[in-house]
């Protein structure tokens, strides 16, 4: 069985984020990066399948040189090989462009299962996974909390209000994994050293035959990135819980928002 895992490298959760000069993204030249947290759970699901039997796990990422670090970490955790789409133009893709690039790789790899994270820590679009499934014409599930692999992929997924749903996807299929789905393993030192011998294929959009992604194909353009201005003041309510609730209700009525 082959499992493909899509990884995105995002700013480290502890990184200080400042908006760049033209207000279109953050200053990312001198900050630390890590694997998108949702994607680490997706990778763990793939590695669990590998642990349980025969599975070839290939990890895929799009991005500049620094992405090598994320892929090496994934290989150190146990993935078998990596594909790095290193192409300056590919980096400028919107979500649809990314999905097209990943779809081109999936068509070459022909995996039984594609795992992605449910969303990315930085963009928060939750768009690439369903787009990728659609481009590949694969059945898919999002918000997946656990999977059971057999002839099909049984997915337990999260609904509104804490309800759960179980869906069964015939293979090949795609599942977008939710955070907290599992206990993500560490890349052990032994695994990191073994990863030195594992292959990382570097590809461009041209190698993949993709021409309708990248900057020229962007449909959703980021107009502005900014930090909301701080309000002039904040009022701290004090007293017992009942008193605070009473004061809060009064304030809300005064503001006329109810």
């Amino acid at each position: 069985m082959k499992v493909m895992v899509c990884l995105k490298q995002v700013p480290h959760q502890d990184a200080r984020l400042d908006v760049n000069a033209d207000g279109t993204w953050i200053q990312d030249g001198n900050i630390k990066f890590e694997i998108n947290s949702y994607d680490t759970y997706a990778l763990e699901e793939a590695l669990k399948i590998k642990d349980a039997g025969e599975a070839d796990v290939v990890v895929v990422s799009i991005g500049p040189d620094r992405v090598t670090q994320a892929l090496r970490t994934a290989l150190g955790m146990g993935a078998d090989r990596a594909i790095h789409v290193k192409d300056d133009d590919a980096d400028l893709s919107d979500t649809l462009g990314c999905a097209k690039i990943l779809a081109a790789i999936a068509k070459e790899e022909n995996p039984d299962i594609v795992f992605t994270g449910f969303m990315s820590d930085d963009g928060n679009f939750s768009a690439v996974a369903p787009m990728l499934a659609e481009l590949l014409d694969l059945p898919s599930a999002t918000g997946v909390l656990s999977v059971e692999v057999g002839d099909s992929l049984k997915c337990e997924r999260e609904l509104e209000g804490g309800a759960l749903e179980v869906v069964e996807l015939p293979k090949p299929c795609l599942a977008a994994i939710q955070t907290g789905a599992n206990q993500v393993r560490y890349a052990s030192l032994k695994g990191i050293m073994q990863a030195k011998k594992k292959p990382v294929d570097v590809k461009t959009m041209a190698d993949l035959g993709v021409s309708d992604a990248g900057a020229g194909a962007v449909k959703a353009k980021i107009e502005k990135v900014y930090v909301p201005p701080k309000g002039d003041s904040a009022e701290i309510l004090s007293g017992s819980t009942d008193e605070i609730v009473g004061q809060l209700v009064t304030k809300i009525k005064e503001l006329g928002v109810l």
Partner: protein, 381 residues
Amino acid sequence: MENDLYATPEHEAFRDTVRKFTGEVLKPRAREFDAAGCPDKALFKKMGDLGLLGLRYEAEYGGSELDWSFSAVMHDELGRCDNAGVCMSISVHTEMATPSLAQFGTPELKREYLAPAIAGESISAIAVTEPDAGSDVAGVKTRAVRDGDEWVINGTKTYITNARIADWFCLLAVTDPDAGYGGYSQIIVPNNLPGVRVDLLDKIGMWGSDTGQIHFEDVRVPVANTIGDIGRGFQQQMMQFQDERLVACITGLAGSEVLWEETKRWCEERQLFGRPLAKMQNTQFKLADLWVELQAARALNDAVVKQMCAGVDATKLTTAAKVFSVRVSMKVATECMQLHGGYGYMKESMAGRAFVDSRLAAIGGGSNETMLHYLAKQLGM
């Protein structure tokens, strides 16, 4: 740590692993370890499983046979765990109590003590300092007298980190009082032997590690527990001190960098006379000045790591780095505490903790004065 020394994908992936371990396992429990007065043994087992406890040691005993650049990456990340005491406890095990055993121990001794230490199944401590002998190592009085195939040990060691949680001590004892520097030996002494008694000591800082006084009364251990040749203990311990001093520099600096960042954030948010503290020139000068010193300390530490990796004698630079790093850590702690105002004096404040934690580095692993004395001799004075 932006440096070619640590720039390979393996270094980066390893840094990710240690950072994740620090962020997920150590930081959330930082104050819990303070309250307990020590890290728990399960922590060491988890580190052993990840391969973190024997980076430079032989693969035959579970190590990874890497160089100091990987150790530097590990301690640079561990040093950011918000608990200098826990950090010290770990580094005592990895860089202070086991290097001599790894370098000079017999295969049998390494199988019995080093392999479990690398696996995180046992914890070690270094027992050198005595009530009347600290930086003056040659002044130790603990005596090991040979009786057939056994040493009979009597004496007292004090200010010993990991005293309570350690499974064994790397003890420096006098084995021949008439042989001068050739009269000391390093001996492994299990903590659970009859005649070993540990009294805990109460420190002003480093709350996440246990420190104790250890009494040895007619403690019998096999002569086979001697690390290296009998009579070579002083020289071996001097070599082991190089690792101890370097790791103290690295973890201390990492903690100082975290504190500097935290203080800058505090100053940007803290309003004083209607504007952020960070907008005042005094604050800016202080933080900028500290940043300069942090860069200098990092450059010096990296130079030592480079020498260690190259296998050249790093004694002079290690000594210099120890002196300089300590000064910088203490200055950063003092100034950052001041910038935090009243909150900086609270135990819950990172600056307040750093103020008492950083003070130890000027004493432990060779006091500042001993380091300068030692350096002066190396400089031909």
